[in-house]
């Protein structure tokens, strides 16, 4: 009795709205919507890669022109770190993540969880795959710059090189602060954004299976 009443209440609940479609316009809306979403994801993925490419070009120029062997090694290591950074970002880019919404509820939740766990691992280990390699390479570069008076160095490069002790110290401190900030920000994103979501998904999966 109550069962049938509930089913009737449920079935009637969609009768409150009359839904109509203009199919031609709807398909146009979908196509535009899809293109716009894909563009947003692509731009987000490319923004960080673009920054790394600027770094590669800048340190490529320095590595080519600087006469100091240690600084040149540091610049080359920095380029390698940037390339590794791009590789890591491309391997984990969000646009590669497929939603697979036609999977069963349990499978879909597991997929979603796996994606979040991967993001958590990526952000949590940022110290090892990004910050440390860049920091060490940068220190080698900064402290490897010697006395430029014996060499003919392009003036544009001369302005960029940390020549005296004061500028070496300033750049080192800036790099330390920046590294700490990047690690802190990523760890915070894990704790604030991703871990609660993983916990939420775990709860739903548990409830579904129980």
């Amino acid at each position: 009795m109550i069962e049938q009443e509930l089913k009737d209440i449920w079935r009637n609940s969609s009768e409150t709205k009359k839904i109509q479609f203009d199919m031609t316009q709807l398909l146009t809306n979908f196509k535009t919507g899809m293109e716009s979403r894909e563009r947003i994801v692509r731009v987000r993925d490319r923004r960080e890669i673009f920054g790394a490419i600027i770094g590669i070009l800048g340190f490529g120029y320095i590595a080519y022109h600087t006469p100091f062997l240690v600084a040149k090694t540091g610049a080359i290591l920095l380029i390698a770190s940037y390339i590794f950074y791009i590789f890591k970002l491309r391997a984990n880019r969000k646009s590669k993540h497929t939603q697979d919404l036609f999977l069963s509820i349990e499978e879909q939740l597991q997929h979603q969880k796996q994606f979040m766990v991967n993001q958590t691992k990526l952000l949590g280990s940022v110290l090892y795959w990004m910050v440390l390699p860049m920091f060490v390479s940068y220190m080698i570069y900064v402290w490897g710059v010697g006395d430029p008076s014996q060499y003919e160095i392009p003036s544009i490069l001369l302005e960029a090189l940390p020549i005296n002790l004061r500028s070496k110290l300033i750049w080192s401190i800036v790099m330390i602060i920046l590294s700490i900030y990047v690690v802190w920000m990523n760890k915070r994103a894990v704790v604030v954004n991703w871990k609660p979501l993983i916990k939420q998904i775990d709860t739903i999966i548990d409830q579904l299976k129980k």
């Binding site: 109550i2 069962e3 009443e5 509930l6 089913k7 209440i9 449920w10 079935r11 009637n12 609940s13 969609s14 009768e15 409150t16 709205k17 009359k18 839904i19 109509q20 479609f21 203009d22 199919m23 031609t24 316009q25 709807l26 398909l27 146009t28 809306n29 979908f30 919507g33 899809m34 979403r37 939603q99 919404l101 036609f102 999977l103 069963s104 509820i105 349990e106 499978e107 879909q108 939740l109 979603q112 954004n193 609660p196 979501l197 939420q200 998904i201 709860t203 739903i204 999966i205 548990d206 409830q207 579904l208 299976k209 129980k210």
Partner: protein, 168 residues
Amino acid sequence: MNQQENQAFEKLLEDNKGKIYRICRIYAISPIEPQDLFQEVIYQVWKSFSSFKEQATISTWVYRIAINVCLRSKLKFEKNSLKTIRFDAIQFMASQDTSDQIEDEKYQFLRDCISSLPEGDQSIVILYLEEVAYKEIAVITGLTENHIAVKMKRIRKLLFDCITPKLN
């Protein structure tokens, strides 16, 4: 999509719009409205339409997408993506013959009782109210038919205990 697929998609929408909207009404939590969720579900159905293989029935497939989209909307990181501009191509008009206050009240009771169930059980009770067979619920959820039968016994009791005093 070609002309034939467009027609098949249009038919799918007409046949399933009611059930999609009912599911969206349960999962929509402010600031997301049922209309936003509905739009997102049919967008995702359209996006996946060409990959639909007849291993599952079309209704199983639609239920999966609808519930998966709605569940994701409850997760914080999905909320921003749902704040999209509403398409003019979908019109929601108030039905004239449904201004029955008692029916609305009864629906609110049912909605409240469904919302009081554990998150994982809500999707199962929705499918039960849709009169989907246990076998199909098992395919949609990814659980076994026996598991669904055992769970349904417990969920029905919870639902009836919650709603019976309210309806009387």
